[in-house]
């Protein structure tokens, strides 16, 4: 191996350390027997996790986030799948423009989307803010991600598979059920998981659209100002980090299985 290899490898290791270092402090301090996130470490304890579980408003926020996340992930995947099919399998007039429009949330700062939604909900529709309004905002954010995942999956396999199915006697629905859906399944599963994570972690839109029931990130944000609430926050933050990591790994494994993707590393 050349010297250049070593240098780049060292660089990559530092890169990963930089990436993970700050985040790993959270689980570290959450297990530390102290009330502040400071060195030196004082000793191992699980009491912060106990405090977290005893905090009912935190648990309510967690429950709210789970409900919103699950509903949003299912709805947005259910909407994104037919849309992805339409754009990859049918000649839709103006399809390119429609796709660019639907991908806008990926590039528009979320604060703009958030205040825009706020105006529509409060001033035009006159609806009260609730978990429903949060879910609507998340839906807008998740559909483009779901479509990206599903379209790259649908483009990853040969269109003649579906033609072959039609040719062998299967109708439109039968072809979808017997060929398209099984082949798109890894994409559907990773879309469900990723949409859940996006919704579960989303802060800015939730912050603007949340009513009396807050989601977990909004609750956490309100806690971050109070130093005496820090340990419980660290415990919950650590659990969320671990949970998200597990879901991402699952999503990646599912997506990599089956027919290998032609475009490595895309989202």
């Amino acid at each position: 191996m050349t010297k250049r290899f070593d240098l780049l490898f060292v660089y990559a290791v530092f890169f990963v350390l930089f990436l993970y270092g700050p985040m790993l402090l959270m689980p570290l301090f959450s297990l530390n027997d102290g009330n502040f996130a400071t060195f030196p470490l004082k000793g191992f304890t699980l009491r912060h996790y106990g405090e977290m579980a005893a905090n009912t408003s935190m648990m309510t926020a967690l429950k709210n986030s789970l409900i919103v996340g699950i509903c949003v992930s299912i709805t947005s995947t259910a909407l994104a799948l037919p849309a992805a099919l339409a754009l990859t399998r049918y000649r839709v007039p103006g399809g390119g423009a429609i796709l660019s429009f639907m991908m806008l949330p990926l590039v528009v700062p979320s604060i703009v989307l958030a205040v825009g939604l706020l105006v529509v909900i409060l001033r035009i529709l006159g609806l009260p803010l609730s978990l429903w309004t949060v879910a609507a905002g998340h839906l807008m954010l998740c559909i483009p991600f779901g479509m990206t995942v599903l379209m790259s999956r649908l483009e990853g396999f040969d269109k003649s598979l579906e033609e072959a199915s039609r040719d062998l006697g299967a109708g439109g629905w039968s072809t979808f059920r017997r060929v398209t859906l099984p082949l798109a399944a890894p994409g559907v599963i990773s879309s469900l998981l990723l949409c859940f994570i996006i919704s579960f972690d989303e802060f800015v839109i939730s912050f603007f659209l949340t009513g009396t029931d807050s989601t977990l990130p909004v609750f956490l944000f309100s806690q971050l100002r109070f130093p005496n609430k820090l340990p419980g926050t660290l415990a919950l933050g650590s659990l969320i980090l671990v949970g998200s990591a597990v879901l991402v790994i699952l999503a990646e494994i599912v997506r990599k299985r089956g027919v290998a993707s032609d475009n490595p590393g895309d989202l």
Binding site: F5, P40, R91, I111, V119, L224
Partner: protein
Amino acid sequence: MSAGSARTGLSLLSPAFLVMAATLLAPVVALVVMSFWTQSGFEIDRTFTLDNYARLGEPGEGVVWYGIRFPFAYPVPAVLMVKSLAMSLMATICVIGVAWPMAYFLAFRVTRYKAMWIILLTIPFWTSYLLRVFSWKIVLGFNGAINSGLQWLGLIREPLEFLLYNPIAVMITLAHSWIAFSVLPIYVSLEKIDRSLLEAASDLGDSKWARFRRITLPLSMPGTIAATLLIFIPTVGDYVTPTLVGGPGGTMVGSLVQQLFLKQNDAPMGAAISIVMMLIIAALVGLFLWAIGYGRMRKRIG
């Protein structure tokens, strides 16, 4: 395909499109409309007027910020806008500079466990943005890990105050939050490069460095540019990072919009600032793409 299949396609597309129209198009339109209204006390005056925009451009005494003069009667938005652009530009440059070698390593050096490396870089992107930003507060804070660690080691007596609540902290945090996201597009464009092109370049006499400059770098441009835009655009309007680690000196235009909507109760002005922000970002992006000849590049590299 026949006309019937276009109909089927449209009917498959329409549910998702209608939801997006209601949750994306309607808010943007509403924002535009609202920016032409004005706030008077607790009421909103719905007569069409350009007052909000006029106020943003109204000349006045102004302020001087970092040696730049802002001669406006209401200079806060302009100052924050320029500051936001400068900070995200710096953060973007740092991110691309740091992420590029990593993407190169991933594409050209990693042969085994490639999937593992990719997952390792993907996880941080998907884990809560709020928590990532918050973890920097733990690192840099007055009672944070660096200060308490250095004190513990006896290197300093008093906590260093300059770590948190300043533009540098905002930039470091922004860079950290977006860095994983930028590796992947660059990596994809590097991975797509046909290895025989590199062999051909060597065969035609290029040294390793010349080959990198003449083949690898130009062919990676689509991914690098995509990464640049994907980081620059959202960070300009970021709200979480400046609020948590920026302090009074680190506020950005997103914080102003938030305040106008939720605290100062001047939603029309907030809407106008949002619109102007989007227009400025779009203009800068367009200018950037035009300046580097992105259209031609796309056609050639694909």
